[in-house]
C-alpha cells in the first residue's frame, strides 16, 4: 500500500514535477528576455563542455599509452619507444608491410657490416595508412628522441584511410585531429564514388573528429594507466625491435591463416598478377598528396631528422605515380621495391606469405636488401 511518505510515491511526485501544472507556472509575460537568457545558458554550457574537454585532453595526453588502442601493437610499441627513445637512431614507420617485413636486428647487423652502424626500431602497425602514419610521426618526434637521425616512412597514397574493422576504435579516433580530419574529409570529397558514399565517408570522419575532440573513451584507460598501468598490456620486451613475422603473429590467427590458405590455393594467380601489371591507366599526379608529403618532410626535418620514403613489396600494381614524387623532388629520398623485374625475389611464391606480405624468409631477404640500399643512399 503506498502512502504519501512512501519513497516510491515521493519519487513519482518528484518525477511529475518535471513538468509543473499550468496554474503553478507564471504567465509568459512575467519572463522578459527569456530568449536571451536561454542563449546565454546554452553558450555557458558549451563553454563548460569545451573547457573541460580541453583540460581533459591536456591531462590525458600526459599519461603515456593512455590514448592508444589497447588491442593493437601501436600502444605497446609506443610505450616501448617512450622508454627507449634515446637508444634509436633509425625508425621505420608504416603499415603491415613494414611491421611484418622489416627485421631491425638483421638490418642493424648488415648496416654495421657496411660501416654505417645503426640501432633501429620497427614502428610499423597493421592497417596504418597515411593520416595515421603522419600522426604517429608527429607523436614520435614530440618525444624528442635524442639520437634519432633517420625516419624511414612507408610511402602510401591517400585513398585508403580506415579499414571497416577499425571504424570507431579508439586508435582511429585518436588520429582524427582537426587537421587530419580535414584531410580525410578532403580525400573522401574528391573520391571517384557516388555522392551518398562520399557523404557517408565525410560524416564518418567528422564523427571520429568529434569523438576525438570530446576525448570519447579516453577517460577510463587514462585513469587505469595513471593508477599503475593496464595489466592487459603485454610485456614490452617481447617486442624488442618491433618486428613480428606473420608466421608468429599471435593476434588474428584465424584471419591470417585464412589469408595464407587462400594464397596457397591461388599461387597460380601470382603469374597472372605479374603479367597484368601496368595494364591499367596511368595515375595522374595527386596535388593533395604532394602537399601533404611536403608538409611531412618539413615536419621531420624541423626536428633535425632526415626522412627517407619506402615503397615496400609486394605491390601488384604499377605505381609510377609514387616514384615520380622522388623524381620531382617532393620526397627527398625513396627506396622502391615495386618492380618485380628488378626484385623478383619479393614476388616469388617461396618468399611470400600471402598476396599482401612476405614470409619470414622474404622478410630476411628484404631487410638485408634494405640495409644494402640504405647504406648506399647514406653513403652518397
Amino acid at each position: 500500500m503506498s502512502t504519501r511518505n512512501d519513497p516510491l510515491t515521493l519519487a513519482r511526485v518528484r518525477l511529475a514535477e518535471l513538468v509543473r501544472e499550468p496554474q503553478a507556472t507564471p504567465a509568459r509575460k512575467a519572463c522578459p528576455g527569456r530568449g536571451r537568457r536561454w542563449g546565454l545558458d546554452v553558450l555557458l554550457c558549451l563553454l563548460g563542455a569545451w573547457a573541460t574537454s580541453r583540460a581533459l585532453a591536456f591531462l590525458i595526453d600526459r599519461v603515456p599509452g593512455a590514448t592508444l588502442e589497447v588491442e593493437t601493437a601501436l600502444r605497446v610499441k609506443s610505450q616501448y619507444f617512450d622508454l627507449h627513445r634515446d637508444e634509436f637512431d633509425l625508425v621505420f614507420v608504416g603499415s603491415s608491410r613494414v611491421y611484418y617485413q622489416v627485421i631491425p636486428r638483421l638490418f642493424d647487423q648488415r648496416m654495421a657490416s657496411y660501416g654505417v652502424p645503426t640501432t633501429s626500431f620497427n614502428m610499423g602497425v597493421p592497417g596504418m595508412y597515411f593520416p595515421e602514419t603522419r600522426h604517429v610521426v608527429e607523436r614520435l618526434l614530440a618525444r624528442h628522441p635524442k639520437r634519432l637521425r633517420w625516419l624511414v616512412i612507408e610511402l602510401q597514397d591517400l585513398e585508403r584511410v580506415i579499414i571497416p574493422v577499425d571504424r570507431l576504435t579508439r586508435r582511429m579516433i585518436h588520429w582524427h585531429t582537426p587537421g587530419l580530419t580535414t584531410l580525410a574529409a578532403e580525400v573522401a570529397w574528391r573520391a571517384d564514388s557516388p555522392w551518398s558514399e562520399r557523404r557517408a565517408r565525410i560524416a564518418d570522419h567528422l564523427l571520429h573528429g568529434a569523438y576525438r575532440f570530446a576525448n570519447l573513451g579516453n577517460g577510463l584507460p587514462a585513469l587505469r594507466a595513471a593508477c599503475g598501468g593496464d595489466p592487459r598490456a603485454p610485456d614490452a620486451s617481447t617486442w624488442m625491435d618491433g618486428f613480428v613475422a606473420l608466421e608468429q603473429e599471435p593476434k588474428n590467427r584465424g584471419q591470417i591463416e585464412a589469408s595464407r590458405r587462400r594464397f596457397l590455393e591461388q599461387t597460380d594467380d601470382v603469374a597472372r598478377r605479374l603479367a597484368s601489371r601496368g595494364a591499367g591507366p596511368e595515375r595522374p599526379r595527386d596535388p593533395l598528396l604532394e602537399r601533404e608529403l611536403g608538409d611531412l618532410v618539413q615536419l621531420v626535418r624541423a626536428a633535425g631528422v632526415e626522412p627517407i620514403f619506402l615503397i615496400a613489396p609486394p605491390l601488384w600494381e604499377e605505381r609510377g605515380d609514387l616514384e615520380r614524387l622522388a623524381a620531382d623532388g617532393i620526397v627527398p629520398a625513396l627506396l622502391s621495391y615495386d618492380d618485380p623485374e628488378r626484385f623478383p625475389e619479393f614476388y616469388a611464391v617461396p618468399n611470400l606469405f600471402d598476396f599482401g606480405h612476405l614470409n619470414l624468409r622474404g622478410s630476411e631477404i628484404f631487410s638485408a636488401r634494405l640495409a644494402a640500399d640504405l647504406s648506399d643512399l647514406l653513403g652518397d
Binding site: L15, A16, E17, R20, L44, C45, T52, S53, L216
Partner: protein, 466 residues
Amino acid sequence: MLFTELRFLPFFVLAFAVHWLLRRESWRRAWLLVCSYAFYAAWEPRFLLLIIASTLVDWYVGLRLVRPGARKRAWLGLSLVVNLGMLGTFKYADFFLDSTVEFLRLAGFEPHVGTLALILPVGISFYTFQTLSYSIDVYRGTLAPRKSLLDVAFFVAFFPQLVAGPIVRAAEFLPQLDVRRRLAQVDVRAALLLFLAGFVKKACISDNLAPAIDAFYAAPAKYDVLGAWAAAIYYTIQIYCDFSGYSDMAIACGALLGFRLPLNFFFPYFSGDVREFWRRWHISLSSWIRDYLYVPLGGSRGSRLRTHVNLLIAMTLCGLWHGASWNFVLWGALHAVALIVHREWSRRVSEASPLRRVSAALGVPLTFLTWTVSMVLFRARGAEATWQALRSVVLFDAPGGRNFGWSFLGVLAALAVLHALARFGGGRALWRALPERGFALAWGAAFALALAFSSPQTQPFLYFQF
C-alpha cells in the same frame, strides 16, 4: 538512433526548438509525430507501417467501442487479434515453430517445417502494450476515445518512449494533450540532470561493462567461479544501468517537450524482498501486467492455489514478453516461484517472529542474490552456455581458469557507493544550489567529463531486442 549517439543531439535540439516555437498545440503534436516517425525510420523505415497499422486499428476500434449498441467484445477482440497477431508473428512465430518441431522430433516424427526468419521490429513489445492499454481502457469505460487520429498516432509513436518504454498508458498520456503546454512549466534543470544521470548509467557504466560480460557468455567454460560470479554481478549492473539509464533519458526528453512519462525504476537493488523488487523494477511493465493480466485473471481474490496459478501465468508471460526463448519462460517462472515463496513466508511467519528480523536484515542481499542468479538465465544464449554458466554460478563448478581479477571488487565498491549516493540524494542539493549560470557551466563540464568516460563503440540498448 540511440540517445547516446552523437546524431541524436542535433535531432533533439531541432525537435525541441521547433516544437516550442510553434504556437498551436495541434501543430506541435504534428511536428513531434513527424519527428517520432523519423526517429523510428532511422532504424528501419519499413516497420513504420506496423506502427501506423496498429494506430489505425486502435483509433477505429476506440471510436466503434463507444457507439450505442456496439459489439464491444468483438471490437476489442479485433484490437487484440491485430496487435497480438503482429507481435506474435514477428516475435514468437519462429520460437513456437522451432519448439513444435523439436517436440514432434522427440515424439518420433520428422516434420519438415521452415522458419519465417523475420526481423524483430524494434520496440514492438512496447508499443503493442501501449496501444492495447488504449483499447482496453476504452472498452472498460475508464477512458474516452479520441476522435483525433493525430492524438492517437502521437500517443503511440511519441519518440522518447517509442522503442524501449517506459510503457505509457493512454489514460496517463492522452489527458496531457488537452492542456496547452508552456516551456515555463518544464523544470529544465531537473530534466537535464535526469538526462545526464541516464547518460552516465548507459554510456559510462553499462557500455564499459559490456565487453567483459559478452566475453564470459560467449564461452563460460573458459572462466573460473570468480570470473563467473563477476560476470553475473556485472550483468545485473549492466542491465540496470542500461535500461534505467534509457528510461531516465526518455523521461527527461519527454519532460523537455512538456510531457510527463511514468517512473520506470526506483532503486530496485535496495529492495528488501522480491515483491518489493517488482514494484521497483520496470514499473511500467509490471504494473501493466498486474492491471491488464493478473487482476483480470482473478489476482489474489480467489483461493491460495488460484492466486499462485495467477502469479505463475502472469510472471511466465512477463518472461515471455522479454524474448522468444525458453530461457525467458524459465526466468519468468522462477520469479513467480520466488513471489509465491515470499507470499507464503509472509503469511506463515508472524510479524513478531525473530525470523522476521533476520529476513529484514538479510532481505536486500538475498533479493539481489536471487536476481543475480536468475539473470544468468536471462542473459545466456543456448542450452549449453546456459547450463555451463549456471553450473559455474550456482554449483561453483567451473572448468576454466579465466577471471577478471580482484579489481572487479574495486569496480563493484565504486558503483555501490555511487548508487547509494544517488539513492540518498547525494549531490542533488549541490546541483540545486547552483545559480542559473553556474548550472549551465557545470552541466556542460559534467557532460564533457561523462563523454570522456563513455565507450566509443555504443552498444545498442539491451531492451531494444525485446
